[in-house]
């Protein structure tokens, strides 16, 4: 026994408060401690996930008050899978950026590592919590860390991006709080399972209002169209590894919250269709915008938003296959997009404006980074035999089972658009001559290690998808079984 789910939140908080003190003793500790904490979180969540896959979900109460009186955390196959994924990506981001800002001032580095750790912790909290107000608190933690990390370079553009993000985030918090208030006045409880079980009694007007407010609030976090105006700027202007963390961790937490609200808490007809169509619009708009970008990180950002749309489409199908496909897409996106951000950062490392044409001819000078970028690009488009192929295949079969022909056609068309703009970059990397005066930057050893690890996972899942599908099937079954969730939480044995 290494611990219980609550330690996944408490240990990082303890470390965050400790770091300023430890930094006074030895400055290097500021870099080391977050890594150790993230490693611990990853090991703990992987162990617990292995346990819940066999024995069923762990429901942990806090402060000794059983739900609905107190707050509780739920570590089920579904949430556990996401937590393990997030902590893994968090660890990768830490290894990648271990030497970040090493030669400059100590203060910004200290803030960077605290904020990075809290970004992961907040996302983990969003996924674990079983209480809707607690969800709000964790969204705040993620938000504050994310705004600060976006503004990290303190330049004009990053300040603007952070301000946009802050403004949208504040709007999200307001709507979320209003929705929580409406729910509490009607049902007298904040516990998600309790809300879910009492939901049929709720007056329809209030139910719809609360749902609309919640979807507006969470839609901002989950990068849903048309509430995602902040996302492209935030991805572009934040430091490279943070873009990877936004795509791999924060956006996943947003989608989780949305899914928990729609699948577990509310029982309104048509929300699935809403999710399906809004996801489709997000997908199409984001991918066509990505096609027109001339800056690499901005293109990756729009591609990431598009992928979030595709995940929403898969959830919106609503069947077991659909949810399975959505989880598979989430896994792949969380592995592949950080790889693209990591390797992409090196492709345009010494360039000021990060234009796509500045990657010309990089294949000759930094071969490993280039080939990993190409691998990521092929995988995210869904070419066999890479990981992305299986998830795209599973969403297409899930849609085919429901006879959604138009949706299949649209997904395929969008995939071609995706293929075009990724191949364009890969083409430039390998078949164009490098311009005068461009200095390629060799990746550091730890960055190389992270990129190779992610690349190996993409190949492994690509050739042997069964390695992951077992967990995904259990997780999707867990999400769809609403009655069991309510029973697990409310009929908890003391």
């Amino acid at each position: 026994m290494v611990g219980t789910p609550v330690l996944l939140v408490v240990i990082p908080l303890l470390a965050a408060f400790l770091i300023p003190l430890l930094g006074m003793i030895w400055k290097e500790l500021v870099r080391i401690i977050p890594g150790l904490v993230l490693l611990y979180m990853f090991i703990l969540s992987a162990t617990l996930l292995n346990q819940v896959l066999h024995t069923g979900p762990i429901v942990e109460v806090i402060a000794g008050w059983r739900p609905p009186l107190g707050i509780n955390l739920v570590f089920s196959p579904f949430s556990g899978f996401l937590v393990t994924l997030m902590t893994f990506i968090g660890l990768m981001v830490w290894i990648y950026s271990y030497r970040f800002k090493q030669n400059v001032d100590f203060e910004p580095a200290k803030k960077y590592f605290i904020l990075l750790m809290m970004l992961v912790t907040g996302s983990v909290g969003i996924v674990l919590t079983g209480d809707i107000f607690n969800l709000f608190v964790f969204i705040e933690i993620v938000g504050i860390s994310a705004y600060a990390l976006t503004a990290f370079y303190t330049e004009r553009n990053s300040a603007e991006a952070a301000f946009k993000y802050l403004f949208m985030g504040a709007l999200a918090s307001t709507f979320l709080l209003l929705a929580i208030m409406i729910i509490y006045t009607q049902l007298g409880t904040l516990n998600m399972a309790d809300i879910a079980s009492k939901m049929p009694e709720m007056n329809t007007t209030y139910k719809i209002t609360a749902l609309v407010f919640l979807l507006t609030a969470i839609g901002i976090e989950a990068e849903m169209f048309p509430l995602n105006g902040w996302a492209a700027d935030a991805y572009t202007e934040s430091p490279g590894p943070i873009g990877a963390a936004f795509a791999g961790i924060v956006a996943k937490a947003g989608v989780y919250a949305m899914v928990r609200i729609i699948f577990t808490m509310f029982d309104v007809d048509g929300t699935m269709q809403f999710m399906l169509y809004i996801g489709l619009i997000t997908l199409i708009v984001a991918e066509t915008t990505a096609l027109r970008q001339d800056r690499l990180k901005r293109m990756l950002a729009y591609s990431s938003i598009g992928q979030m749309g595709l995940i929403m489409v898969a959830f919106g199908i609503g069947t077991a296959e659909g949810v399975f496909a959505a989880l598979f897409l989430m896994f792949n996106h969380a592995i592949i997009k950080p790889l693209l951000f990591f390797s992409g950062s090196y492709l345009v490392y010494n360039s000021k404006d990060k234009f796509i044409h500045e990657t010309n001819g990089m294949g000759k000078h930094i071969p490993i980074t280039s080939i990993l970028f190409a691998l990521g690009a092929f995988a995210i488009v869904g070419l066999p035999p890479f990981a992305g192929f299986w998830s795209k295949l599973s969403i297409l079969t899930a849609a085919a089972d429901e006879n959604m022909i138009i949706i299949i056609a649209l997904i395929l068309i969008v995939s071609i658009i995706e293929l075009v703009y990724y191949l364009r970059v890969v083409n430039r990397i390998y078949f164009f001559k490098m311009a005068e005066g461009v200095e390629p930057k060799k990746p550091t050893l730890n960055a190389l290690f992270v990129m190779v690890t992610l690349g190996v996972i993409i190949l492994l899942v690509g050739f042997y998808p069964d390695a992951i599908t077992g967990v995904l099937h259990k997780a999707s079954g867990d999400l769809l079984d609403k009655t069991k969730y309510i029973q697990d939480v409310l009929l908890l044995n003391p």
Partner: protein
């Protein structure tokens, strides 16, 4: 025309929301349903705390409070990180003209009283209205007054950082002690004493005092950072 449509849409939306929120009927019958009554009852019977708001904030929903404290900590950290480049000339302030002697002597007189009030508010958080957040804010206003009145008044940044970190650490450690003694995080592990006395409520007053220290140190740090910002 475009503006007219926007105004019309906003009006419809406002009307809709107005009807919904007026229809919530605050203070009516159905507000007695749910967990509310149990909170009121268990605060007195099990926790021996006179202030229900405090018992909810610190014990029933203590995990949220830990989160909120972290939010404040992160906001202070983030502000320090973003304004870092501008803070190289410590000692010079953005307020340039000197304060009048009335303000200077007045604030010197008021400062101890403000600190005392702040301490009183957070020490008695479980007995009377107020608590750690309110008391901490009162203390920070005391420091704000001093910083505004005196050019050369300075607070040690390291000291603030140490107070803030230690308060946070002890909060988590108290939670972990509950975890070790009774199996759940933040659970009360001390005797609850008698209702309405200063030593009652188990860990609740201790946690609220820690929150008071933390909030005071953080807000003072924020004020100090912003006041010494220089372009």
């Amino acid at each position: 025309m475009k503006k007219l449509i926007v105004i019309l849409l906003l009006a419809v939306l406002a009307w809709d929301l107005g009807v919904i929120f007026l229809g919530l009927n605050f203070g009516n019958e159905h507000f007695t349903e749910g967990v509310k009554d149990q909170y009121l009852e268990k605060t007195v019977t099990e926790l021996n705390v006179a202030n229900t708001v405090t018992s909810i904030v610190v014990n029933f929903r203590g995990f949220d409070t830990l989160g909120e404290v972290t939010v404040l900590f992160l906001a202070a950290t983030a502000l320090g990180g973003i304004l870092y480049k501008k803070r190289h000339h410590v000692g010079e302030r953005s307020v340039l003209f000197p304060s009048s002697s009335l303000v200077m002597s007045g604030s010197k007189l008021l400062f101890p009283a403000i600190i005392l009030l702040g301490v009183y508010v957070f020490v008695h958080g479980h007995l009377s209205p107020g608590g750690g957040f309110q008391g901490g804010t009162i203390i920070a206003t005391g420091f704000l007054l001093m910083l505004l009145a005196y050019d050369n008044y300075s607070v040690s940044h390291n000291l603030l950082s140490i107070v803030e970190s230690l308060a946070g650490i002890f909060f988590v450690v108290i939670g972990l002690l509950g975890f070790m003694n009774h199996g759940t995080f933040l659970e009360n592990f001390l005797p609850t004493g008698t209702l309405n006395s200063l030593f009652s409520g188990g860990v609740i007053p201790i946690v609220y005092i820690l929150i008071g220290f933390k909030v005071a140190a953080e807000l003072t740090g924020v004020i100090y950072t912003v006041l010494h910002e220089k372009d």
